[in-house]
């Protein structure tokens, strides 16, 4: 046993019989040594004849198992600790109430104490190690709080982090005395989990010392009964047994009731408290739809949808609702021309549709065709054509998209721009992605085949809303000089003079189609 720990013990007046000897340390703090709790019987350990139950034996076995050995913690040290742990609970007749399977192994306890000790010594500079409490033993001490300063709730959270069940709900009030600032600082040194705890610790208010001893006891009892049934307690509550108790394949069952949540990429399985169940998500979707309609803040909406999708995923929700979430997100992404995000949804939808979960497969199939038209990916387009069934082809939207494809393949810009004006659903948004490119291609075409044409002809052929739009398009590509406004005659365009210009613009426009997350 390391010296700091011993001091800590003494300081906190831990029941001395937990050790094989009595320590009488020099007093190092101004806090009064606490008298042993009155209601705590002190049985003579030696006299007891103990029948070890199976869980306890398993626990011991695990403690000795080679794979659980920790570097830097010797066998002897571990054994001493193990003895302490078991005898401590045995003396209190609590061997049966402890969840041995989850109880931290002695070597972990040692490691933790050491860490705390190290932390403390760096904090106060002279090795004052008050916080190096042997954590496993802090269970029901029942000492009264003599130094009564109100503990902060933050501390509670940090404790949640470090302790496993037996200890976590019973932080003796005295532990909180006088050391607020001190422990506060330690709180944040215990790993990445504390942020989450801050948000979700629903017990936060309970640890206050204003509760009477009776209250504390009652609460203790309450938690103890809950423990066995508390199966959903996720593994991240005890970072120690990550490896064996974690089962990443099981779906999380969310408990979060908040409608909105920012997206955060997960690097570990999420806590149920942070995940919203489907009935909440359904409300979220409605809210998001409304927000999109009235606020149209795309970045915000996209972020919200991503967290929505994440919640669906971690809970393994795959049904009509999932489909509608992806469909709506895909449509919003289309509307804003965010093809990267659209793409992700599209990929997911493809798989979801294959599971026959409803939704609008034809609509999105049509989008996919248009998307491949945009990316000019002949191989993918071919694969898609190979998948099409006659039933697919009879769908109006799919037929439209296929017509778009063939019109472009045959260079029939006349038909292409007619189709552009008649695109069903949100096809026009996708076609917007390549409409400029195709206009340039058509102009390259026209400029070789005609000498001069009316501006109105180009407006009509290339699907512009008005002559002004058409002129603006020409102007933005540096071709306004072609347009001749003669008195009393409709405006004409000398297309022939710009055939090289249009050819260059066309080639440049087709050169790169670069989309984030391209499928």
């Amino acid at each position: 046993m390391s010296i700091p720990t011993t001091i800590g013990w003494a300081h906190h007046s831990m029941p001395p019989h937990a050790l094989a000897y009595n320590v009488v340390p020099a007093r190092q703090s101004l806090a009064r040594p606490m008298p042993p709790a009155a209601e705590q019987p002190v049985p003579a350990p030696k006299a007891r004849k103990v029948q070890w139950s199976q869980p306890v034996r398993d626990y011991v076995q695990r403690a000795f198992a080679a794979e659980n050995a920790l570097e830097g913690i010797g066998q002897e040290e571990m054994q001493t600790k193990l003895k302490q742990v078991i005898s401590y609970f045995a003396e209190r007749d609590m061997l049966d109430t402890i969840d041995w399977e989850r109880h931290p192994l002695p070597q972990h306890l040692i490691a933790e104490e050491r860490q705390a000790a190290a932390m403390a010594s760096t904090m106060n500079g002279y090795g004052w190690t008050n916080n190096a409490v042997p954590i496993h033993l802090s269970f029901p001490t029942g000492t009264t709080n003599t130094a009564s300063s109100p503990p902060s709730s933050k501390k509670r959270k940090s404790m949640d982090d470090q302790l496993t069940e037996p200890a976590e709900e019973a932080i003796p009030p005295w532990r909180k005395a006088n050391r607020n600032a001190f422990e506060d600082r330690i709180t944040y040194s215990h790993g990445p989990n504390d942020k989450r705890h801050k948000k979700n610790d629903f017990n936060a208010g309970n640890g206050s010392s204003k509760f009477s001893q009776a209250d504390l006891e009652k609460r203790k009892a309450r938690f103890r009964t809950e423990m066995p049934g508390n199966q959903t307690t996720p593994p991240w509550a005890s970072p120690r047994n990550d490896s064996d108790s974690e089962n990443p394949t099981g779906p999380v069952i969310g408990t979060n009731q908040e409608l909105l949540k920012n997206y955060l990429r997960l690097t570990a399985p999420p806590k149920p408290e942070t995940v919203r169940p489907q009935h909440v998500l359904e409300k979220t979707l409605e809210l998001l739809k409304k927000k999109w309609r009235y606020e149209s803040n795309y970045n915000y909406i996209c972020d919200q949808f991503k967290s929505l999708r994440q919640d669906l995923t971690v809970q393994h929700i795959k049904n009509a609702f999932t489909v509608s979430v992806y469909e709506i997100h895909a449509r919003i992404a289309l509307e804003k021309g965010d093809l990267g995000e659209y793409n992700q949804c599209q990929t997911q939808l493809r798989a979801l549709y294959s599971q026959k979960l409803g939704g609008h497969p034809a609509e999105f199939l049509a989008y996919r065709i248009l998307y491949y038209v945009y990316t000019c990916n002949q191989t993918d387009m071919n694969d898609l054509l190979a998948e099409l069934t006659p039933a697919d082809k009879s769908q109006q939207a799919v037929k439209h998209a296929l017509d778009v494809r063939s019109a472009l393949a045959l260079g029939n810009y006349h038909r292409f721009f007619r189709l552009y004006l008649a695109a069903p659903y949100m096809g026009a948004y996708l076609m917007d992605m390549f409409i400029e490119r195709e206009r340039l291609a058509a102009l390259a075409n026209i400029s070789r085949a005609y000498m001069t044409v009316q501006l109105r002809f180009i407006t009509d052929e290339l699907g512009f809303d008005s002559d002004a739009d058409c002129f603006e398009f020409l102007r933005s590509h540096g071709a306004q000089y072609l347009v001749i406004h003669a008195e009393g005659e409709p405006a004409r365009v000398n297309v022939k003079d710009a055939k090289n210009l249009f050819e260059q613009l066309r080639a440049a426009a087709f050169k790169t189609v670069d989309i984030k997350g391209q499928i």
């Binding site: 990429r265 971690v314 990929t347 002949q378």
Partner: protein
Amino acid sequence: MQAALEPFRQAHRAMNGYEVADSLKPIAPRHDPGRLYTFYRASNAHQVESEIRYALKYSKSSGLTRNESSAWTEVLVSYWKAIGEILAIEEATNQGRLCDGQWTAVYDAWKEVTNNLIKHYSNGNLPAWTIVCLYVAGTYLRTFAIKADEQLAKAKGGVTFNSGFQDDVVDSMAKNEKLEDAARQLNRMFSLCIGDRNPIMESRKWGTYYMANLQFKTYFKLKAIGLSKNVVRSINASDLPPLENFPKSHQVTFKYYTGVLAFLQEDYAQAETHLTEAWRLCHKDATKNQELILTYLIPCRLVARHTVPTSALLAHFPHLQQLFSPLVTCIKRGDLSGFDNALIACEDEFVKRRIYLTLERTRDIALRNLLRKVFIAGGYEPLKEGQTDADRIRRTRIPVAEFAAAFRIGMSGEGTGQVLEDDEVECMIANMIYKGLLKGYISRERSMVVLNKKGAFPGTGV
């Protein structure tokens, strides 16, 4: 076991790589249909290793070094196990009670054989002249992977869903788990061959093209054609002996695949070069392969050179004739709706072969031929004074309406539902001009197409 290993030992003694590889095939040779069975029965799981080791090491005539002998032992033991799985599946199939995952077991067992071979080639225990064994391993690894995937797909649906904590629901669209794994193994074998630094006469480099071809085949099957480019790239960057020095079969297949790859990237000039070479090298009796080459070479030449295959050529390949001759006829005749129908009739086959989108573009030639007919039917300009018949020129100013009429012939047929606007006719003519199939310009005011007096349709004699 001594007797069962005799073919292997004979082949090894004769230093005949192909025969050594034959003795490692997971199918029985025609002259000895019971070979697998005999081989498997020659031992049992308990003793197989020691028996094979003994047979290889202590027989008088083996002449194997210690390392090579233990390498072959390991290979042969895993081979023996794989044969066990294969016989089990044969039996189960015959009795009609094939279990789920049985092909996976075969695949895994065969993968073990492959891994042992890879291991011992890479640490130099096996001589390069036996590299053919690697071919056998790779070929059957691919076959078994496909079978295993078929069985897996039947057992569970296509899509796998995410079970971790990723952002999205669906994990991947992959339903070719084993074949993807096989592709990785093939890639290892490919690197094993291409990266060999031994003197060229005893180098595994000679296996490079065979492995590359297997990879192409696998990537095409996986619809991951893009990955083939990496193979081509690393071959181009390596210091392999010239392709002509490799076995012809390797050359033909490699040329074929590089041709098809270029074809799919719409680089028809490259594609034509490679495919023509493959066609030239292809064995005269390998009709299946010739047919495959022509499947791409014909569309390639149609698009790039506007040359149609002769009926004499197509006559040799009934299947190709059925696919291409209606198209070819319509192209020659300038029959647009006939062309469209022919394309639709074989659409599935064309799409499957990935030539649909290319063939679609040959409609331009049909269209050109149609316009040309109109031009020829338009006759000649009236002779001016002093001109003789030799001086007469064709009428080069043709009303758009005449072309439109030609378009509409045959288009009025029921079912097409296509109504052709005059603007659309103009658009198609503009396209012809743009693509250089037609020389001239359109005058919109007069609704006239003014054709070039000398060679309105380049390359067609008028």
